[in-house]
């Protein structure tokens, strides 16, 4: 929050030239930019924990696809057998 205040007698605060020079530092900015954009040193698959997490995710996906495939097969077989029964009748 900021609140205005009237300055009646003193001159308004101005930043000193030294302060501006002190904070003006392109190499620090450049370094900060690099730090934020740098890739992680260890690739995800080489990180033990991340590798396990990835493996777990892949396992879950695999199991899910298997379950879905099984269900689809069952429903298809069900439809086929009812069709055959209808034809036989």
């Amino acid at each position: 929050m900021r609140k205005y205040k009237i300055n009646r007698d003193k001159p308004l605060k101005e930043p000193s030239k030294e302060a501006i020079e002190k904070y003006k530092d392109f190499s620090r900015l450049s370094h900060e930019y690099d730090r934020l954009t740098r890739r992680p040193k260890v690739p995800i698959y080489k990180d033990k924990k991340m590798f396990l997490v990835l493996l777990l995710i892949m396992l879950i996906v695999f199991v899910l696809t298997q379950v879905i495939d099984e269900e689809e097969k069952d429903t298809e077989e069900g439809v086929n057998s009812t069709q055959i029964e209808q034809v036989e009748d």
């Binding site: 300055n7 904070y23 003006k24 392109f26 900015l29």
Partner: protein, 169 residues
């Protein structure tokens, strides 16, 4: 960012740092905080330079907008109250604009300050730019990326509100 782009940005940094720093300082009134916000502004500009579109407004207007957003973000995050000093004659200029007769009266001036302090931040920003930072309507228009007529309309609408509030007291 390629080295070539980085060198180009270092020229931008060199050219605009002081102006942006002074702009931020006027609002936060602290050298260290202004320094940090200015670096953050430049960092955001460096990240988003590819998004800058030249629509006729000067490049500096884009930088000022980022700086202003950073200052607002700082005010939102920080819980402490910061008092921003303003010149008496700037307050008097607003009083003249909204036809308050006794511009010399300190009581009246304080009343106006209280009214300004109760303005929404986005309205206060416009008043700030126009009366305390002495921006022309053209500069305000460039700052917000709007037309000059629209900038005028926005400022006068806020002054109208202040006037109505004044008359009702």
């Amino acid at each position: 960012m390629a080295q070539k782009d980085r060198n180009a940005f270092s020229l931008i940094y060199e050219k605009y740092f002081e102006r942006i720093y002074r702009f931020i300082f006027k609002r936060v009134q602290d050298e260290a905080i202004a320094g940090d916000i200015c670096q953050e502004t430049m960092l955001k500009a460096m990240f988003n330079i590819h998004k800058f579109e030249n629509r006729g407004a000067p490049f500096s207007a884009w930088l000022y907008r980022i700086a202003s957003n950073e200052v607002n973000l700082y005010f939102r995050k920080s819980k402490k109250m910061i008092s921003v000093e303003i010149r008496e004659k700037d307050v008097q200029a607003i009083m003249t604009e909204i036809s308050i007769e006794n511009v010399e009266s300190e009581d009246e001036q304080e009343k106006l300050i209280a009214a300004l302090n109760s303005l929404k931040p986005e309205y206060a920003e416009l008043i700030d730019l126009r009366f305390f930072m002495r921006y022309s309507f053209k500069e305000i228009a460039e700052f917000y990326n709007i037309t000059e007529a629209n900038a005028k309309m926005r400022v006068y609408r806020i002054l109208d509100r202040l006037k109505k509030g004044w008359d009702s007291k």
